[in-house]
């Protein structure tokens, strides 16, 4: 079972080490992790995708909440939400393959962001499945390198996960 947690943390040095250390010492698996600033400069957001059974995932959320620098933990999996990843894919593209690659890029609404003599870099955003599918489609041409961000997520509609707004409600 997999869950996506949206975790708001104090923007303090060492907070990433606290979260990562918690996962490693308790034996939890992180599938992906994305960290960034939020609309409030004193708060960072970590989007963590964790895997485990129900009991483990419940512990993940509770242990995260125990960290003093963790302000809020929300499991967004069960709620209506949008999730996105971004990937950069460097693919072999000699003159004979280029046309076909460009067609596939268009179908996936991806972008070509660099053109080399024998390679292209393609940027694609979407949910995990879309990026997986695109990677598969590129595989026959010869993928040189893939760089993927961790997953980020946001609730649909007017609901938010940030602290400030929650307190105003």
């Amino acid at each position: 079972m997999r869950r996506t947690f949206s975790v708001l943390v104090e923007n303090h040095p060492g907070v990433l080490a606290r979260v990562a250390g918690l996962f490693s010492r308790r034996g939890y698996n992180i599938e992906s992790l994305a960290v960034s600033h939020t609309e409030d400069p004193t708060i960072s957001r970590m989007t963590i995708v964790a895997e485990g059974d129900e009991a483990v995932l419940e512990q993940v959320a509770k242990q995260l909440r125990k960290l003093i620098d963790v302000i809020k933990v929300q499991d967004v999996t069960a709620e209506e939400h949008v999730e996105r990843e971004l990937a950069l894919i460097k693919v072999n593209a000699d003159a004979t393959a280029r046309g076909e690659i460009i067609q596939i890029v268009e179908i996936f609404r991806a972008h070509i962001v660099d053109i080399g003599r024998r390679t292209l870099i393609i940027e694609i955003t979407g949910d995990e499945k879309k990026i997986d599918a695109f990677e598969e489609a590129m595989r026959p041409f010869g993928i040189r390198e893939v760089v993927r961000t961790g997953k980020i997520a946001m609730l649909r509609g007017s609901k938010v996960t940030s602290v400030t707004v929650k307190e105003d409600e």
């Binding site: 104090e10 010492r25 003093i68």
Partner: protein
């Protein structure tokens, strides 16, 4: 005017001392060194008493013992690098047993951090998994607020150790002191009362139960809820078993007391838990030493779990009614609405179990159990007992009847050998008018024996009962039972503990016969000095009963 302004300037060290005074700290245990010098310089003029231990580990355990005996936060102080790393075992011990400890460490100047400077260690990194929280103060203007937050975090919610790392330039630099104002920790909101709906559900289960058992842990003691626990037990006529950490939370001489449960618990406690239809867990965490084979633990029971730490609930066992909150407040909520229908048949059944399966030992030769009983009898059960770890700890837990909270002080979770003696020093500082005994083994006493110098230095009349069998006894017991008597490296060649004590300026007494137990104990208590009593006990005495590791708790040896 300029002069006035100058007067208001304080060094970081002075600010720290001022903050400690504001927190009501009157004692710190520590060991100086280069990076912490500005703090020591400020302590020189302060009204805070400083106990110089002979090893930083001793300082951490002494501060821990002080905290467990007094209920106030313990404070220890060490320099950077090895000073700080020597605190680590003490901090981990406090973390596992939820003890409010605040550790201050010196650090190399901020400009040198990360350059592998002399006596540099990344102590905030090292202690991250063994503290409730830790801080590296990089700016002296943050110091006062950080100290305030450190004490708040250590002492509220589920207590625990907090470390504050202080680079030397931070404690040396001068600024005008400003009150930090109220703390703001938006990620930290410890729970108080339990959810009333859950409380009602718990009460409903209590009213229906025919065979309830209360399983109480150290949380009852940290919460100060012994009185509420007794009221609940008496109202329900529910027998009470405690964990090692919970000893003293419920009077051991109460008719409803079952003593300790688990691996070396009483048979009647383990049988009662195995037979109960409702287990009320209060401030306890279902440790593996308690549950044995977890699938067979309290197999017929519905479980109510009251704990201040939400993460403890559902961690080791499935729970029917969880209540997250401060144990004392939750018990009051329960008592307020509980209209109990006690079941005297169950109470009688439990009383029969107690009669049928008492804790016993054979009285041939000098037995450790007789020493522990002797300490209980000679002190009228009024001593503060610390222990080391191993057989000594289990005999102390089994054969001394603890009737008051904060009188049994032992490293439960981490199982730290070498804890008991420095902890006893901290306990004696907290309770100067009480009798303090460290019940020790010949192995573990040697892990912090240098603290004899501290006890002598500060005239702390701590008594140490060394249950000397010339073995690492608990390990030897496991080798006897599970490793075909192959005593790999568990036999000890020991020093003459009497002479050793005397060399330090303490008193030493040798005891070889049962008849000498009482006079030796009386002599020790009467002595104004620290005393080592070297009891040469039966070498192969085992701690019984015993649940073999991984077995169900009703399947006991002995």
């Amino acid at each position: 005017m300029g002069k006035d302004k100058e007067k208001e300037l304080m060094t970081g060290g002075e600010i720290l001392v001022k903050c400690l005074e504001e927190q009501g700290v009157d004692i710190v245990f520590g060991y100086p060194g280069g990076a912490i010098l500005p703090v020591y310089d400020a302590l020189y003029d302060a009204d805070i008493r400083h106990i110089l231990t002979r090893h930083e580990q001793g300082a951490a355990h002494a501060a821990d013992g002080y905290a467990r005996a007094s209920g106030r936060p313990g404070v220890c102080l060490a320099t950077s690098g090895p000073g700080a790393t020597n605190l680590v075992t003490g901090i981990a011990t406090a973390a596992m047993d939820s003890v409010p400890l605040v550790a201050f460490t010196g650090q190399v100047p901020t400009s040198l951090i990360g350059r592998d400077a002399f006596q540099e260690a990344n102590i905030t990194g090292i202690t991250m998994p063994i503290t409730k929280h830790n801080f590296l103060v990089k700016d002296v203007r943050q110091l006062a607020r950080t100290v305030k937050e450190a004490f708040h975090i250590a002492t509220t919610g589920r207590p625990g150790p907090v470390l504050v790392d202080l680079p030397r330039d931070v404690t040396a630099s001068k600024i005008p002191y400003e009150d930090p104002g109220p703390i703001r920790l938006r990620g930290y909101r410890p729970p108080r009362e339990g959810n009333p709906v859950q409380v009602k559900r718990a009460v409903a289960l209590m009213v229906q139960a025919e065979r309830p058992v209360i399983y109480a842990g150290g949380g009852v003691i940290s919460s100060g809820a012994s009185e509420e626990l007794r009221l609940l037990a008496e109202k329900l006529l529910a027998p009470v078993t405690t964990t090692l950490m919970g000893l003293g939370a419920f009077p051991g001489d109460h008719p409803l007391s079952l003593g300790m449960l688990g691996m070396h618990g009483t048979k009647y406690a383990n049988y009662a838990v195995s037979a109960c239809d409702l287990l009320i867990a209060i401030g306890a965490r279902f440790d593996d030493r308690v549950t044995g084979k977890v699938e067979s633990f309290a197999p017929e029971a519905k479980i109510i779990h009251i704990d201040i730490d939400a993460a403890e609930i559902g961690k080791n066992v499935r729970v029917d009614v969880p209540i997250v909150g401060d144990v004392k407040l939750v018990l009051r909520q329960i008592l307020e609405i509980l209209d109990a229908r006690p079941n005297p048949a169950w109470q009688e059944k439990v009383a029969r179990l107690k009669k049928e399966y008492p804790l016993t030992y054979k009285e041939n030769g000098l037995k450790p159990q007789a020493v522990v009983r002797g300490i209980y009898e000679v002190t009228g059960g009024k001593a503060r007992i610390t222990t080391e770890v191993g057989q000594n700890q289990m005999w102390a837990a089994q054969f001394y009847t603890f009737t008051r909270p904060r009188t049994f002080i032992s490293s439960g979770g981490l199982g730290t050998m070498g804890f008991g003696f420095p902890a006893a020093i901290g306990v004696q500082v907290a309770c100067p008018d009480e009798i303090v005994f460290d019940i020790a083994g010949d192995g573990s006493i040697q892990m912090n024996i240098q603290e004899l110098a501290t006890a002598v230095n500060y005239e702390l009349p701590v008594n140490v009962a060394i249950l000397n069998n010339g073995y690492l006894g608990m390990v030897r017991q496991w080798q006897e039972l599970f490793y075909n008597r192959r005593y790999a490296y568990t036999e000890l060649l020991n020093p003459d503990f009497v002479k050793l004590a005397e060399a330090y300026g303490a008193e030493g007494i040798l005891v070889e016969k049962p008849a000498e137990i009482r006079p030796a104990l009386e002599q020790a208590i009467a002595s104004p000095k620290p005393v080592f009593i070297d009891f040469h006990i039966d070498r192969e005495e085992n701690v019984m009963p015993m649940v073999p590791p991984g077995e169900a708790i009703h399947k006991m040896l002995g």
